[in-house]
Subunit: 280 residues, 2 copies
């Protein structure tokens, strides 16, 4: 059985790769891409079998860029998972914590560990392009006085050692990831057996008249369909017009879903189903 090739953005050891492991255990080969649009392009062109992309974070909000790319490509969401962003202090195998003087990571990760740096004033922050990449560089050319902040997967991938686990200030830092496939050409999916929770993600625009969102949500509420997410996004250049992102708690076998989507076409200028998928 050949392994599936699954694209993600970042270096090996990134949190996105951890999401791939949550979807596939060890049965997929992660394919790193520098940019989100390269991961989408690799999947659209058939270079890879699937792609795993972040869609929102509990501290930093929705990744609008990936919603835009979902609308641009003909791909479907087939599963979602959430990864807790745990930042670990990682050093070379021969190093000890007491000797560490400089710690490198992406500025966003460094900023999520400020309590650690406030407590350890003898340790200097060093910026790096990427969290996992900072571990890669540490192992390639670092010293025993240097550390990096990244996932435990990154420590594993590059053969480094975790000396302090979970040094992030806020433990409520989760990123939600979508697993995408080509709509026309489904491949072997993660097993959905026993998965109880299904969702359907939609994007739509309403007509710019008072109460239009209220009427649109009536399409779901009047059928007792529950929402798991709603978010408006202004359309640039069109003041007071919006895209809406909605996640419904409904699977493809729910007869209310097709009815609701039909009803929605009566009220919306544009609508698109991004996928019906299960939660891993």
């Amino acid at each position: 059985m050949t392994k599936l090739r699954v694209a993600f953005q970042g270096e090996l050891g990134a949190f996105s790769q951890q999401a791939i492991e949550q979807f596939y255990r060890r049965t997929a080969d992660p394919v790193p891409c520098q940019r989100f649009d390269q991961a989408f392009a690799a999947l659209s062109s058939g270079d890879v079998d699937a792609a795993v992309l972040p869609i929102e974070n509990t501290l930093h909000g929705s990744v609008h860029e990936n919603y835009d790319l979902l609308l641009k490509h003909d791909l479907g969401i087939v599963a979602e998972t959430s990864v807790r962003i745990v930042h670990n202090l990682i050093v070379r195998p021969e190093a000890t914590f007491s000797r560490i003087r400089r710690v490198a990571s992406h500025p966003v990760a460094l900023n999520q560990c400020l309590d650690f740096f406030t407590k350890h004033t003898n340790i200097e922050k060093v910026v790096h392009y990427d969290t996992a990449g900072s571990v890669k560089q540490l192992m390639a050319e670092g010293t025993r006085e240097e550390g990096a902040i990244a996932s435990d997967l990154a420590a594993n991938v590059y053969g480094a050692k975790i000396v302090k686990k979970s040094i992030e200030d806020d433990r409520r830092n989760f990123t939600r990831f979508f697993l995408l496939e080509r709509v026309a050409n489904p491949v072997r999916r993660p097993r959905s057996a026993g998965r109880k929770q299904w969702k359907t993600s939609l994007v739509f625009t309403t007509r710019n008249v008072p109460g239009s969102l209220f009427r649109t949500l009536g399409v779901f509420a009047l059928r007792d369909l529950s929402l798991a997410k709603i978010e408006s996004r202004p359309l640039r250049g069109k003041p007071w017009e919006y895209l809406f992102y909605v996640d419904l708690l409904a699977g493809a076998d729910d007869p209310r879903l097709e009815k609701a989507l039909g009803h929605l076409t009566e009220l919306c200028d544009f609508q698109r189903v991004l996928g019906t998928y299960f939660v891993v």
Copy 2:
């Protein structure tokens, strides 16, 4: 007339300082803070007269951290403005573009200028903690072969020179900022004369029963109050319970607003008005 002291997160020359200029022209002294929570604390304690904080970005979504801090502190939103994120290539005054070999900035800014780096393969990307800070460092200890990517304000503040304007890949990159003041102790505000657009921002949680959001939005729709934003945010540890962020197109003198807020208390477990404010 003593100048107002206005806190913001970042170094002098940050996009947040540009928002301060949009609010106050040159009549305020910007006070840099390292962290968002420090800007909130400086305002709460009376160290500064106001604070300007980013609340959402068109590419990166809502800054949930600042929504959390708004709920934690007793401050009010008194105005909003939007800043277009324009990235410029900035060099030392004696430098010329053809000699530049290394360009420093925050990784997020570098990643928003990838087309530029793809076109100029002889220029290396260098990561820095902060966009404006990369200009500060360039002027303090840089060479004629080095550049930085930041706002035109940063070039101005540090006496550097812009050699390429607007090198960002996506021109639809805007950040929305709130101007905050202490609720109990209002100070001299930016002039609102002639401002036509007022907004009111709310946070609320609904009871976890089917159709509860629909009924809640009825509070506004049945009074013809328009929404300028809606966003759900999962409450961690409480599956399927949400905070909702809603912006209404209504000012304090709108009689429907008080009625709607009263009606909302019948349907919500928790609600809070973050402020009624005008758009600059």
